[in-house]
Subunit: 167 residues, 2 copies
């Protein structure tokens, strides 16, 4: 392999490794891969979406994200990654029996996972954030990812992040 | 101070430190203090309770808890601690505007935090589990804590733990 081609391959490989696991597919537009170990990150908050989404969700943050949240510091620093996990919204008959009322809803099957990655230079065109969504390890398509930033624009005052920290 | 009294004081102090923060109030019956650093533990799952509770909740586990969950291993080992955090269930007008529908519910003010602590010898009378609840750092009273185990008894087949791990 010619030296120039070998160097190019090395650079691409190291960029891929920096973003996630080397053999996983990167997301269109923003080139994000599933960050290693995200399931172990600390909790930012939880939410429930009715309607078409019909899910229970948890926001997790890497250490940079959690530190920024707890310091109340905006904008989020480069290197911040926020993960949005979600599961289908399922009544729990077992819990309801114990409570004595139909009232309990728990996490069913996972739906998809989304990430926001802060890199103010690389993602300058979208407020400094790259967006990604994965289902069963497969990235969402370009059409969907184009819709991410426009929805987040209204919350520019909180650096485009909707979720507040739950103490 | 006489030697015996000094020894007794040391033993009591070290037991308290082992359980949590030395100057915090222990919970009645089970003697549990708020475990240090629980807010940083990993996520087990999330849920929503309607009715009187009207909350969004997150279950977090210490490393022993998470390991046992991921290995699918019952009973939970001694040293397992599971924390149930909860916040009031609040509609998000800001999110609803973006989604275009009233559908989004987020975490409001914290309500209380509960813990289950596994010690199969100390808590043999209650399936090996000690129970605690705290609000603003203050433990719940004896009357409330007496109700914990009877409610958990129906799920004896899963070592008295209702929550399943959310992948």
């Amino acid at each position: 392999m010619a030296l120039a081609a070998a160097s190019a391959t090395c650079i691409i490989a190291s960029m891929a490794l920096a973003a996630g696991r080397a053999d996983d597919e990167a997301s269109p537009i923003f080139g994000i891969k599933i960050p290693a170990g995200y399931r172990d990150w600390k909790l930012i908050s939880v939410a429930h979406e009715e309607g078409n989404l019909n899910d229970l969700r948890a926001l997790l943050g890497n250490d940079i994200a959690i530190k920024a949240y707890r310091e109340g510091k905006l904008p989020f620093p480069d290197g911040t990654i926020i993960a949005r996990l979600a599961w289908s919204y399922v009544p729990s008959e077992e819990n309801d029996k114990v409570f004595g009322h139909a009232q309990s809803f728990v996490a069913g099957a996972p739906t998809n996972v989304q990430f926001m990655v802060k890199d103010s230079r690389k993602y300058a065109a979208t407020g400094g954030w790259g967006f990604a969504q994965f289902k069963d390890g497969k990235p969402a398509d370009e059409a969907l990812l184009k819709t991410c930033f426009p929805c987040h624009e209204p919350v520019k005052a909180r650096d485009f992040v909707f979720t507040r920290y739950a103490p």
